[in-house]
């Protein structure tokens, strides 16, 4: 891992313009320039949620009009997204400290390079028809871009908006939800433009997307700035004493993971995400099976679109609400309201109430997004601002774990019910009750989140093991 000292040593080199010191804002810089910089990155990497639009065309790369035996199968292609999500969590955890110490521009630049490379390597993989190259390109290189890009603007935004940290990170993380809304129609349009009688157009679409995302992310890296040390917004008065649940102290990243608070929040995020991701991934099939003949394939697609909007909107609105009611209370709302909504879904299915069913799903998915957007500010309240990006990176492993647990829970329990003679319309009921039960556990974990013990607080500026080591070496 690169420390601040090593980063400084790199100044003046070819990539000196990426250094944190070169991104310090001059007096009078408008802080409202920073959220668009963050959105430049999050809107691009949010494309990951729309990767499924390539799945069907990629099963016809050789046959073009229909799949041939040598064409890739959907099950094989599904691994591309799964690998990228697992690598997202791992890379965010591994590179979190490097992102925090190297500054947002270096991280955004790296994320942009990796994201564009991921697309270009995948295009090469299509050219030579080797799926392993795509697993490496989009899955691993692109996954690193997802992890680094996702956490890159988080702590910077909270430093620029100490008065509204939830809203600030909510804006960026909303971009991740919105990225799919942009990427999905754009990808379909590009594939349509490039498709010929002998080509489905995926290769050229990957090249164009890789180049376009690179430019977009470089704009973000160019305009991002960090506030000068001690900067505060005009008129902002920091609370004179730390409130019970908002610390004024910083906790070093590797000390944070030793605290029960970190793991309690990890479990809370894991459970909230598991519950939401299961519903989000299966909404189309579930709605059609629970309301046969009433929700058609087309209507189900409309529901999925509407859920994407609520996923995105929930990120901004719930995170903004958390600035007023507090992070812990926001999660209490997620767990309590989520519990009520999950047990209402089987009732809505049983009574054939489509409107109630749709409303339940929309609020659930808004809280799924809200959970992601509120958690950086929750970590900042617990562990301070200094290493919040790195701590957030490690916490994102909860997302990777939930990405496996959520779909597995919902699919296997449905399968078990159907094979044991439960009608398809009621096959999801057990899962909904299990999800509600998970949220009860989440509620209990959230209840036990208290202020971090003072022994974990950093004593002074430069109180990291790396800083102490450097100081000892100098002495």
């Amino acid at each position: 891992m690169t420390t601040m000292e090593e980063t400084k040593a790199g100044s003046g080199s070819l990539f000196g313009f990426l250094d944190r010191e070169r991104t310090v804002a001059k007096p009078g810089f408008n802080r409202w320039m920073v959220p668009p910089a963050a959105l430049c990155v999050h809107l691009c990497i949010g494309q990951a949620y729309a990767f499924s639009v390539f799945n069907l065309p990629m099963t016809r790369l050789l046959g073009v009009s229909q799949s041939t035996p040598d064409d890739w199968k959907l099950t094989q292609l599904g691994w591309i997204f799964s690998i990228s999500m697992v690598i997202l969590g791992i890379s965010a955890a591994l590179f979190g400290r490097w992102v925090e110490e190297g500054g947002p521009r270096r991280a955004m630049f790296t994320a942009g390079m990796c994201w564009a490379s991921g697309f270009l390597i995948s295009a090469f993989g299509i050219h030579i028809h080797n799926l392993w190259v795509i697993y490496f390109g989009y899955g691993i290189v692109g996954g690193c871009a997802l992890g680094i890009g996702y956490i890159s603007p988080v702590s910077t935004l909270m430093k620029w908006f100490p008065d509204r940290p939830g809203m600030a990170t909510g804006m960026a993380i909303m971009g991740f939800g919105g990225g799919a809304l942009v990427a999905s129609p754009l990808s379909v349009w590009l594939m349509g433009k490039f498709a010929t009688a002998s080509d489905v157009g995926v290769l050229k679409t990957f090249i164009v997307l890789g180049c376009a995302y690179f430019v977009f992310m470089m704009v973000g890296a160019a305009i991002v700035r960090v506030p000068a040390p001690g900067w505060k917004p005009k008129g902002y008065v920091a609370p004179s004493a730390a409130t019970k649940m908002i610390t004024k102290n910083d906790v070093f990243v590797y000390d944070a993971v030793k605290t029960p608070q970190f793991w309690l929040i990890w479990v809370v995020l894991f459970l909230n995400t598991t519950a939401g991701i299961g519903v989000l991934g299966q909404a189309s099939a579930m709605s059609q099976e629970m309301f046969p003949g009433r929700i058609t394939v087309v209507a189900a697609a409309g529901l999925v679109g509407l859920m994407s909007l609520f996923n995105m909107g929930g990120r901004f609105s719930w995170a903004s609400v958390s600035d007023y009611i507090g992070r812990r209370n926001t999660y209490f709302v997620f767990m309590t309201l989520g519990f009520v909504l999950y047990i209402t879904v089987p009732y809505a299915g049983g009574t054939g109430n489509v409107v109630l069913f749709v409303c339940c799903f929309l609020v659930i998915v808004s809280m799924y997004g809200g959970g992601f957007a509120t958690v950086p500010a929750y970590l900042r309240d617990m562990f301070g601002t200094r290493y919040v990006g790195a701590i957030h990176g490690i916490l994102l492993t909860a997302w990777s774990a939930a990405g496996i647990a959520g779909p597995v829970l919902i699919n296997y329990i449905r399968e078990y019910n159907v094979t044991h003679g439960v009608p398809k319309a009621q096959a999801y009921n057990t899962t909904m009750y299990i999800m509600a039960g998970l949220l009860v556990i989440g509620f209990i974990c959230n209840y036990f989140v208290k202020a971090v013990d003072a022994r974990y607080h950093m004593k002074a500026e430069g109180d990291t093991p790396a800083d102490l080591k450097t100081a000892a070496a100098r002495a």
Partner: protein
């Protein structure tokens, strides 16, 4: 250090930055809304 200095960033730059991310995002939202309308038809 309180930010007492007046904003020196030109408002047009701020507008441009927001338009750069806002236009594609709004385009995506509009497309999604068009698809979502099918749920109510």
């Amino acid at each position: 250090m309180q930010n007492e200095a007046a904003n020196t960033t030109h408002p047009f730059r701020v507008f441009l930055a927001w338009a750069f991310v806002g236009i594609p995002l709004l385009g995506g939202v509009f497309q999604t809304l068009l698809n979502a309308v099918k749920l109510f038809q």
